[in-house]
């Protein structure tokens, strides 16, 4: 039987404001699953004409899948968000690229024709679930020297990256970090960030209920001089500081994906169209380099060159890791195409949730930059991986919908 493949579009994405992990963070007593549930509700609220029964899958990521991030969260959060019982769900873990993987997995299922509409997202409440909570690494990893012991400590892998690329100095990293803070402050001032945020009622037994409406981690006005003072916790006289790396954060994201046909039929907005993606493994002790081979592979699959990419949303787990990517592709540290709204160094990086934040922001930037045809979202992933997803801008003049006015495909490429 001939199979019709579908183009996949990113309809809309939202996120909670990101919080600082820990006792004093605004989400200290707010459940992790509640964060992602609010995101799903908001996606549905923004598409009032979409019958929730049309959502055929919920894929949610969390790195630490225990407690309020456990219990097959994709299924349970869907039920708690008010999706019908007929909507299934599952949980995903690919560390920092959890939500990114939730998107590529569900997108692949949509492309394959298994279903038409899905929700993908992620959550990480690093206050309630510190990185490494409950892990039990196989002793063979050390005994057989499968990976360097530093590979499990992300900050150490970032220091390792400095060893590999001596040209990337701490000064460059700090300058990049200040740029991230400044770009985010400008984006907030211009009202670019707020539309993506879902207000979240925050529970606290001593403070009472509150309402999270804005990101907690940003430190606007930070200077390179400020950053120079910070400690380097991973190595004496090292390079990595709390200022040039993403912090420990709480937050959640979710997005709505659809086949281009369903989006057209259901009159859903199209923010981006998926072009291709790749995940690649690298040496775990320099996991930050992961986005480089992942992007090369994705570009190769897509038949594109790095010069075709007009906008980059790169996760800033560490400044050094972003700079390694930029150096590899010959892009300037302050290239305006890169992280226009700032990045994780300023906004925060609740591990498994971040991938969708990158995508949501890229889709907003696509709308503002109709001259850009393609954009890229990429991130490094713990234990030595990189993920890279290429997107096409539907606002570009050369964009051709795969669906004509009668709902049929305009080409035959997809037939297999």
């Amino acid at each position: 039987m001939p199979r019709t493949l579908s183009e996949v579009v990113f309809v809309d994405g939202v996120r909670t404001p990101f919080g600082k992990a820990g006792e004093k963070g605004m989400y200290a007593q707010t459940r992790a699953d509640d964060l992602v549930i609010k995101c799903i509700r908001e996606l549905l609220r923004r598409q009032p004409d979409l019958d929730p029964a049309k959502v055929e899958e919920v894929a949610l990521a969390a790195t630490t899948q225990i407690g309020d991030q456990g219990l097959t969260m994709g299924r349970v959060a869907g039920l708690l968000a008010g999706l019908p019982k007929s909507t299934p769900g599952y949980s995903i873990d690919r560390m920092c690229a959890g939500a990114m993987t939730a998107v590529t997995n569900t997108a692949s299922s949509i492309a394959f024709g298994a279903y038409d509409v899905a929700i993908a997202g992620g959550v990480e409440h690093m206050g309630r679930h510190p990185m490494g909570e409950g892990v039990d690494p196989n002793p063979r990893i050390i005994a057989e020297k499968l990976v360097d012991p530093s590979a499990l400590v992300m900050g150490e892998t970032a220091e390792n990256l400095h060893d590999r690329f001596p040209k990337i100095t701490k000064q460059r990293c700090d300058a990049f970090a200040v740029g991230s803070q400044n770009k985010l402050a400008k984006a907030y001032a211009d009202g670019k960030i707020q539309p993506d945020l879902v207000p979240v009622a925050t529970r606290h037994d001593e403070l009472g209920w509150g309402l999270a409406t804005t990101d907690e981690p940003p430190r606007p006005g930070t200077t390179v001089e400020d950053l120079a003072q910070l400690k380097t916790p991973f190595r004496p006289h090292g390079n990595i500081t709390a200022g040039n790396a993403a912090g420990l954060n709480d937050g959640a994201t979710a997005c709505l994906l659809a086949s281009e046909r369903a989006a057209t039929e259901l009159d859903l907005p199209i923010g981006m169209r998926l072009v291709n993606y790749a995940f690649v493994g690298v040496e775990p002790e320099v996991m930050g380099i992961g986005p480089v081979p992942a992007t090369e592979k994705a570009l190769d699959h897509a038949g594109l060159d790095i010069s075709d990419i007009g906008l980059f949303e790169l996760n800033e787990a560490f400044a050094v890791q972003v700079l390694a990517f930029l150096d590899h592709f010959g892009i300037a540290d302050d290239d305006p195409r890169v992280n226009e709204y700032g990045g994780a160094i300023a906004i925060g990086h609740p591990l498994a949730s971040s991938g969708v934040r990158l995508m949501t922001q890229l889709s907003r930037q696509f709308a503002e930059h109709p001259e850009v045809r393609y954009g890229l979202t990429a991130m490094c992933i713990g234990i030595g991986m990189g993920g890279s997803v290429i997107w096409e801008n539907p606002h570009h003049k050369d964009y051709v919908s795969s669906i004509d006015g009668t709902g049929n495909r305009t080409d035959t490429e997809g037939a297999a």
């Binding site: 549930i37 708690l80 008010g82 606290h204 001593e206 009472g208 209920w209 509150g210």
Partner: protein
């Protein structure tokens, strides 16, 4: 430490704190002060307003008033902790109040504190996120706007149920918000209907909230609503309330008639609430609140309220820990139930056991036709539950599969609990138990639903008499909460513990009763119904006797006889008269009614049936008593009988008699069942020489 805080500390108030948190409203609407009421415990210990908590709320509102004046906040709202808004005033301190001024102070503090919400110079909001009762309902009414969550499981003004009025503004604010008809439903009708609670959706439909919101984003959506109201983007429309004399008072007249029907004018609280609502039509807010203060003070100092609180504690606390019951850990697991007999009562039991214990239930009877009828009855009832939506089809299938019938008792071999509901005749019961014992395991409990027979005698010929226990249901089995659990002389602790555990599993309130004639409820009912019969036989008209019991029993004696059936009433009086010929009485006239097979003393028109009166023998020298004389005599008999029961050790304490009469016979809260009434009226002292309860237990301590 303030005075109130000191008071709180001395009596261990669980303080419901008022936490204030500034939130930035969406859409740049400004800074909003959100008050969270939270006592620091989870939902199993709900928020309530005690003196220290009110003081904290008052201080918080003072601060907000200052901040609002300075323009620092654009609005203020109040909400609860997860699942709980607030369930009303902390009533734990009331029994210790002996001074009316103290009572008045409580009333005034509520008004004064809550009025600070209305007085804020910015828009105010109540976000009713969870269970909300009494003062919890009232506090939100002082706000300009309200949202309510669709998952609010309980919303009520239960004051009249206990013997109070919603006097922290409720009797004034509720009717002015939603009209007197709906207000009377909330304030009068629901409390007098077994304290019925409504849900969030119903409260919204009554107009008590402006928006009904989904729980998943309740607070977020409430704050978004507040933001839109504050910016003027959203307007709130409410139905106009009819304050014309007719429109206002008409529903209150109806409510008054309903209160008469429910309480026989014996409970002061609902009448006081109606009076306050009537006056509220033209009163200013200040006048209305002061009238509420006085009403609350009067009622707090009333024995009816103290009896109500006593009764409330019995059903809430004593009912959960039956006095004299053996340790729970001795109970054996019940995984299958046998019922001997397949008559109506047996079938009702089968349904209850299957629904509540979810274990197989086997009904047996002598012939297949009766067995089939019993099983068919149970299955038909399951169908009805399904039709009402109380069961889905899987649940109905499960229950039907649990209930089966047989003419053989062989199926009892793996049962853990077999109860007999056969004819009330000792020889029949003994035969049945012997047959059951031949089949069941050594430890299987043999329970009897007898209402009057001797448990020890019934067990005497068994190999294992220690396994026999009385398990006395009240009709209708599914509805009446009481189970009398009777210990025979040889009943062992494991059997008794299993009986109590089974009762708990069935959702029943149980009391431990000594093996004695007719146990507790039927003995007391028998005593005063015997009196009623004797008084009528001696010449007082039935109507006068009926009237004499208004406010004492849920229904007058001859109506009760008609409900349970004259034959059963006669049987009970015969059993008791056999045991206590000097005090109990078998009415020859009642025997005639039974013989004539007349099912009720009342005709279809609701009046006494003339056919019944025609049967009666006219007394040679009629003695006609007034209603007051009848009442005095009946109460005197009750006092005498209760005293004897306590002296005989039938139950552990007067509290058990009251708990039994409230849950097994529907005796009212405002009398605390029966002993507080007998003490209050002085009858216990007059008849028995002493009170049943110490002053203060179910009465105002120094009032008499």
């Amino acid at each position: 430490m303030t005075d109130t805080a000191q008071q709180a500390a001395t009596r261990d108030e669980v303080v419901t704190h008022a936490r204030v948190h500034d939130v930035e409203l969406p859409g740049g609407a400004g800074t909003f002060a959100l008050i969270t009421l939270d006592n620091g415990f989870d939902h199993t210990k709900p928020n309530s307003f005690g003196p220290a908590g009110l003081a904290e709320l008052s201080d918080a509102l003072d601060t907000l008033a200052e901040r609002a004046t300075k323009g620092e906040i654009v609005g203020a709202g109040i909400t609860g902790k997860p699942f709980i808004f607030t369930v009303g005033a902390d009533i734990t301190g009331i029994p210790s109040i002996t001074d009316r001024e103290q009572a008045l102070e409580i009333a005034r503090t509520g008004h004064d504190t809550f009025s600070k919400i209305s007085a804020l110079p910015v828009p105010t909001f109540g976000f009713v996120n969870g269970a909300s009762m009494g003062g919890g309902v009232e506090v939100a009414l002082y706000a300009d706007y309200r949202t309510i969550s669709s998952d609010v499981p309980a919303y009520a003004l239960p004051e009249c149920f206990l013997g109070l009025v919603p006097g922290w503004g409720g009797t004034y604010l509720v009717p002015h918000l939603i009209g007197t008809e709906k207000a009377a439903q909330l304030i009068i009708k629901n409390p007098l209907s077994q304290n019925r609670m409504i849900k969030g959706k119903n409260a919204f439909e009554l107009g008590l909230a402006d928006r009904l919101l989904q729980p998943v984003t309740f607070l977020e959506d409430s704050l978004a609503f507040a933001a839109r109201v504050i910016t003027g983007e959203e307007k709130v429309e409410r139905a106009e309330v009819d304050t014309s004399e007719e429109g206002w008072n008409g529903p209150l007249d109806k409510a008054q008639a309903e209160a008469d029907a429910k309480t026989g004018k014996a409970a002061p609280a609902p009448y006081r609430a109606i009076e306050l609502m009537r006056a509220g039509r033209t009163a200013t807010r200040e006048e209305a609140f002061e009238a509420e203060n006085q009403a609350l003070a009067d009622l707090i100092m009333s024995d009816e309220l103290r009896a109500g609180l006593y009764a409330f504690n019995l059903v809430q606390k004593r009912a959960k820990r039956p006095a004299g019951a053996p340790d729970k850990s001795l109970a054996r697991k019940v995984t299958k139930v046998g019922i001997v007999g397949a008559g109506l009562m047996a079938s009702q039991m089968a349904l209850l056991f299957a629904r509540k214990l979810k274990v197989p239930v086997l009904l047996t009877d002598l012939d297949q036709e009766r067995v089939d009828k019993g099983v068919a009855y149970t299955h038909a009832e399951i169908d009805k539950l399904q039709a009402k939506g109380r069961l889905n089809s899987d649940g109905a299938n499960r229950l039907k599969a649990l209930v089966s019938g047989s003419t053989s008792k062989d199926g009892f071999s793996d049962a853990d609990f077999v109860i007999e509901a056969v004819f009330e005749e000792m020889s029949v019961k003994k035969k049945v138990f012997a047959e059951v014992e031949a089949v069941v395991s050594r430890e299987c409990v043999l329970a009897t639903n007898t209402s009057s027979l001797d448990i020890t005698d019934m067990a005497s010929e068994l190999q294992h008499p220690e396994r026999v226990v009385g398990f006395h249901f009240f009709n209708p089995v599914a509805i009446m909460p009481l189970l009398e659990i009777i210990r025979g002389d040889r009943t062992d602790d494991a059997t008794l513990a299993t009986a109590f555990a089974t009762s708990r599993g069935l959702g029943k309130t149980s009391i431990l009763v000594k093996n004695s004639p007719s146990f507790v409820v039927n003995r007391l009912l028998g005593r005063f119904m015997g009196d009623a019969g004797r008084i009528v036989d001696e010449g007082t008209p039935i109507e006068v006797v009926e009237q004499a019991f208004a406010g004492l029993t849920p229904m007058p004696p001859f109506m009760l006889i008609s409900l349970v059936g004259p034959a059963i009433a006669l049987h009970n009086s015969e059993t008791l008269t056999k045991a206590f010929p000097d005090r109990f009485y078998v009415s020859p006239n009642l025997a005639k009614v039974v013989e004539a097979k007349i099912p009720s003393f009342y005709g279809s028109d609701g009046a006494i049936d003339t056919k019944v009166l025609d049967l009666f023998d006219a007394p040679a020298s009629p003695v006609v008593l007034t209603a007051d004389e009848v009442r005095e005599r009946a109460l005197g008999s009750l006092a005498d009988e209760v005293r004897r029961m306590l002296d005989e050790g039938v139950v552990q304490a007067p509290e058990d008699i009251d708990l039994a009469m409230i849950t097994g016979a529907g005796f009212p809260f405002w009398n605390g069942g029966v002993t507080p009434l007998l003490d209050r009226t002085g009858i216990s002292k007059k008849v028995t020489g002493k009170r049943f309860l110490e002053p203060g237990v179910a009465s105002v301590a120094d009032s008499r």
